[in-house]
Symmetry: C2
Amino acid sequence: MTDTTGIATVTEAARRAGAAAEGFGALAPAARRDLLDACAAALEAAADGIVAAAADESGLAPDALRGEMARTTGQLRLLGAHVAAGRHAPERVSAGVAAGSADVRTVRVAVGPVAVFAASNFPLAFGVAGGDTAAALAAGCSVVAKAHPAQPETGRAVARALGGVLPEGVFSLVEGGADVSLALVRAAEIRAVGFTGSLTGGRALMDAAAARPEPIPVYAEMGSLNPVFVLPGAAGDEEWAAALAGSVTRAMGQLCTKPGLVVLPETPEGEKLAEALAQAVAAAPSHRMLTAPMARAHEAWGEAARALPDAAVTAAPGAPGPFAVRVPATRLTGELLDEHFGPAVVLATAPASSYAALARTLPGSLTATLLGTPADEPGAAPLLRALALRAGRVVWNGVPTGVAVCEAMVHGGPWPATSAPWSTSVGTAAVDRFTRPVALQGVPRGLLGGFAG
Amino acid sequence: MTDTTGIATVTEAARRAGAAAEGFGALAPAARRDLLDACAAALEAAADGIVAAAADESGLAPDALRGEMARTTGQLRLLGAHVAAGRHAPERVSAGVAAGSADVRTVRVAVGPVAVFAASNFPLAFGVAGGDTAAALAAGCSVVAKAHPAQPETGRAVARALGGVLPEGVFSLVEGGADVSLALVRAAEIRAVGFTGSLTGGRALMDAAAARPEPIPVYAEMGSLNPVFVLPGAAGDEEWAAALAGSVTRAMGQLCTKPGLVVLPETPEGEKLAEALAQAVAAAPSHRMLTAPMARAHEAWGEAARALPDAAVTAAPGAPGPFAVRVPATRLTGELLDEHFGPAVVLATAPASSYAALARTLPGSLTATLLGTPADEPGAAPLLRALALRAGRVVWNGVPTGVAVCEAMVHGGPWPATSAPWSTSVGTAAVDRFTRPVALQGVPRGLLGGFAG
């Protein structure tokens, strides 16, 4: 494999992606599906090496990474099948409406080369062959993917597998730091950007994209609070303590949908559930975090939380592991409403009658969750509506971690959760980010064949 | 009517739009349809005064403005009917796919207050109650509309009509210069921007929106070349000279879809058609332009074109009116590929075999047009594909001016034609700009009623 590090390689990769774009975009959707299937097969053939590299570089469990590999190959195949069936371009024809009684017909074309930034917390499913790459390839876009700096071997192993099956220039890997990231976003050939990571990182890419001579969209998934509201009826169900603690601490709290805030009713049941949840979080198993800076940030948040007035921190003794921060609901402002990556959660009790008003003070999130019994349903509509206006997905009686890859999924949401709340990074609708509509007016039937999508 | 001028009124209008947003967004789609119908009826009742103001301020013919009023009220009613029928939120359910066999269902919610900037070239259809306002209201978003500075009385007359029927805060008018525009884009309550105008103006709003603490999308429709390619068979049809000249000079060439470049075959028929087109453009009737700066820019472009090497300008004698600039195809770079607002067109002949390669050098446009006979069809696929990659709408055997308001329309396209090539400002799909998807996971049926769209 050639060297993939540095700005010169970005220029060259973008040039190759530009040269490949029109030919790849003109492939029939079934041909793109076949290539995506071949990518999935190639990843499976190389799975042992890829999983070993990812486990070594991420600290995540090999079993979890094997599951993630299955999700990664599954979404490559799902998105390929989606476009091959034409479901990304449903027929839209306005017959005889234009001058001369011409038909107007909407088709979809690929937007052109896409820059994809691999995330560290899902080294495979959001990695260089993760959801953004699968969506871009399914859409007919060539891809320049940047490996996460903390996981270079994982990125290279995945790229080797794809390089064996995709046409020249359709997929390239680049590596490097912030200078390489910015050079990639600024490369003239790049037409869109997919990113999963921090708010700081996403904003830097957005600013660079907005300042280009020709601005391009950045689809950035960033920080998310993921609030959970426990309705009064559900507070008596002690099983939620274990379920929520598992959601907070799974993968060391390094999931973008980790619940960062749980609001419970100001009732004896609510107080009891809050205490049980705090204990369950503190008792959860601990392992190393993805990177040293993330570990330091988690530790710093623990120290800051302990210094907060009126706050009570529940944690296991010793090294910074999972912890819960209990605060009065009236304190829910500022950094208590920021995302804190890692196995930590903020707990607050409040009168259930104040939930909707409290929800209206929350920032945008990928998810919001309500836990309730049938008895809670009649009164839940205002809270549900308020949460839907601040999230990309609203969960009833479940935990927000675990995102189903399906047609109806929305993994998105208002700022700061994402930069593009009109779209999703997970599910078949992710393909829509990388195509755009074109109206064909009066075009003869014999010439429509080139626009199968 | 209260004063609508200045930055203080922007702050107040944005505050009122923010206060009204959640309630208006929660209205059932049929209730929004009824309000849009009432807006249309109110505009019709006030039509005489509005048309008189618009004719006085724009210089456009009263007959054309009456047609535009019909289009304006028609699109208010069409978009209302679209959402009332639920067509903006087609059912998308993935049954039993999430944890606990929960259903995932995509619904759509309004994004919140929208800033709309009225254009001058369609004082009504792209004015303060034009397409962007209709789409935003249909989506359930409150609107703060800024009147075009050259057409204040038109904006006020339209706003008076709407003010009589829409709930408090759902629609506000503001007026002023660039400082007011930027203040509106920066107002914290505003969640999206709709703009039709110049590249300079659109870019300024985009830069301000991108620099906000919470960036918001700007749907800007800006400059467009709108190339036309005459295929060899069609060059013998002299009727295209009159049709194209009409398209170039209609409304003094001040339409965003005005053809700015016509490429003809390097054949005797092509040369003859080019000459006939140049003569027809020069002979077209002339009237004053929308604003003095636009008239000066048109005059300056005429002087610059005359000074170009190898260029031949065909124009009527006297004051700057319509003109055609004939250049060799090899000169088609730089300012010859920029939009020039006004009744002017660039003509070039080239071998038809070079058309697709030439198309690949063109900037993004709202439209691209091919004129051809059945004999031209077999060879036209590469050119058609190349143009579809650079335009939002491709017209076969028609003129690009005249945009049908229908389901399948795309009035959009790659930079610099628009800032958001994934969307359209005309047609029912325009509503999609101002809603966003939310996935409801496991939400009980009894709670879905609040998400009819």
